[in-house]
Amino acid sequence: METLSKDAHGQEDTRPTARPAIEVERLTKVYPAQRSLFGRVQPEKCAVDDVSLRVDEGEIFGLVGPNGAGKTTLIRILSTMVLPTSGTVRIGGHDIVGNEKEARSLVGVVSSNERSFYWRLTGRENLRFFTRLHQMPDSEADPWRDRLIELLGLEEMADQRFDNYSTGQKQRMAIARGLLTRPKVLLMDEPTKGVDPVGAAEIVELIQGPVRGLWNPTILVTSHNLTEIERLCGRVALMHRGRLAALGAIDELRARVRRSDHFTISVSGVEVAALDRMAVESGGTVSSAGSPRADTTEMKVNFPLGCAGFPRLVRLIVGAGGDLVSCSNRSTTFEEAFHAVVEASEVDSEGGG
């Protein structure tokens, strides 16, 4: 079983023992065929297929994948809204089928559906209603609700009707609601959906900072915005067609799909045509080359992983009387890794029938 070794910023995890908050073992969910009076409407569908993963306490874990990958079904199973067909799921050690109530009491959900509030009540009134629903005593719930409003920067809007809120403010309110019961596990399904880039960045900062700083809840977040996932999460699970296509730290995922080293070099004293020849001679593939200034040539060149082509190229440049002015090594982006994993998974699925 994998454990978190580095956080989103590459820092070593110093937690003494990483206890599991979410444990998923060989989980499968098959939605039965839906029939109408006049015959079959929808065939049986396997939404989650033999998925196993573990999320540790305090971890921010990303769940990514193309549309229809099974992310939402997995989240709905974790929140006990959907029953699994087979396999086991434990939240804080409680089985979601056998100890449903205990498991559910540990979970908070942040929904991306902005309709899931009462639009004709104010934000504060909405939150008060939900604390009552959770049967929290007012003496405890009221100050906590006010603190959440402050923490999420909603003081100015709190006493205005919910239908006056912007999409970003509605999402913040959804986060506040998800935190009302101080859940150990927070499930966030596309928390920035529909929010503009500035608002989305603010929400990501809120999750990273104030929300995580509360009691270090375990957060499982889904998003189609991979930059956000990269900023937030140490590890990710990449789902495709119900299966787990990849699981691990984002850096590991990038390294796994990296097939070549990408260099951008700036050289003086060597002409474009000569530099091009040297790159090919060193075993590289030139993706672009040009002379932005009269005395400098710039080139993007890729070398197969582990072929030692780049040192060879440097020797050739120096040998020809040129100087290497600057050099940068561009790593594989998470998006590239995502696409590579999805493509590989497609090939596997087709190969396996």
Partner: protein, 268 residues
């Protein structure tokens, strides 16, 4: 029963209902239009000296007014559970509510409280405005009427829960509502006494709790029958409630379980 949770639901629904000011006022004002209408219909029918109305003091106005007012309670029972469920499916609050400590069946019951409260206010208004049009309330047994009303509601609720279970499964329940309220309107004796129908229809009418509820209510208000005299109605309505309540809860629990298997809990 969690009083604070119930209070939160009543307060939420009151706030939402009164935020639609015009609709709220129209719902109250409609009584001031309906009662005079019933009065003039009553004047016309009472002129015929119908034997079947003797049991109700010969007043068709009172007969019709109580029938329509009580039908409101049946309509609320049939619609409030299903509509609150459907609304929470449409708005996406259902799954949020299900994550709370409050069970879904409690949520449905609490969601109906405001509607029962509002319908009770309308019921009293029907009687008050009726009294302004010479509805004879001199003999009325109000305590008996209140008890009949309470036990009638308990016997109507299972039908609402059954409807909610159907909505949970097939997402639309209007047909079921129309069927039960239509049958109650026709067989239950809202517009004409049950005794004026053919015998086989009278037997069918006895299968509906609404028939007994309405008869008990008329006996309490129009004939001033004592609590002891209303015992038969308490017994019949209580039996409906005791038998149907667990069945409706079971049906609803099975419907919830089914939707958790099919993944259609929040679908609409």
């Amino acid at each position: 029963m969690h009083a604070r949770v119930a209070q939160a639901f009543v307060w939420r629904d009151f706030k939402i209902a009164t935020s639609y000011r015009t609709a709220f006022v129209i719902q109250i004002a409609s009584i001031f239009v309906a009662v005079p209408l019933f009065f003039f219909m009553g004047t016309m029918v009472e002129g015929a000296n119908l034997k079947s109305l003797e049991r109700y003091g010969g007043s068709y106005f009172g007969f019709l007014l109580i029938g329509v007012a009580l039908l409101d309670f049946l309509a609320v029972s049939l619609s409030s559970f299903g509509s609150s469920l459907r609304e929470s499916q449409l708005t996406g609050t259902l799954e949020i509510v299900l994550l709370s400590k409050t069970s879904l069946i409690e949520v449905l019951l609490y969601s109906s409280l405001w509607f029962y409260l509002f319908t009770s206010i309308r019921f009293v208004l029907y009687l008050v405005v009726g009294a302004m049009f010479k509805l004879d309330l001199g003999n009325a047994n109000f305590l008996g009427a209140a008890l009949i009303l309470a036990i009638s509601i308990l016997s109507f609720i299972p039908f609402g829960i059954f409807t909610a279970a159907i909505i949970m499964l097939i997402k639309r329940g209007e047909g079921v509502n129309t069927l039960i309220s239509g049958a109650s309107l026709f067989f239950g004796g809202v517009l004409f006494p049950v005794s004026s129908m053919p015998e086989w229809m009278q037997m069918l009418a006895q299968c509906l709790p609404f028939t007994h509820a309405l008869e008990g209510m008329r006996q309490a208000i129009q004939s001033g029958v004592s609590i002891e005299g209303l015992g038969r109605y308490f017994l019949v309505l209580g039996t409906f409630a005791v038998v149907l309540t667990p069945l409706s809860w079971l049906a609803f629990a099975l419907a919830v379980r089914r939707t958790r298997v099919t993944g259609t809990l929040g679908q609409y």
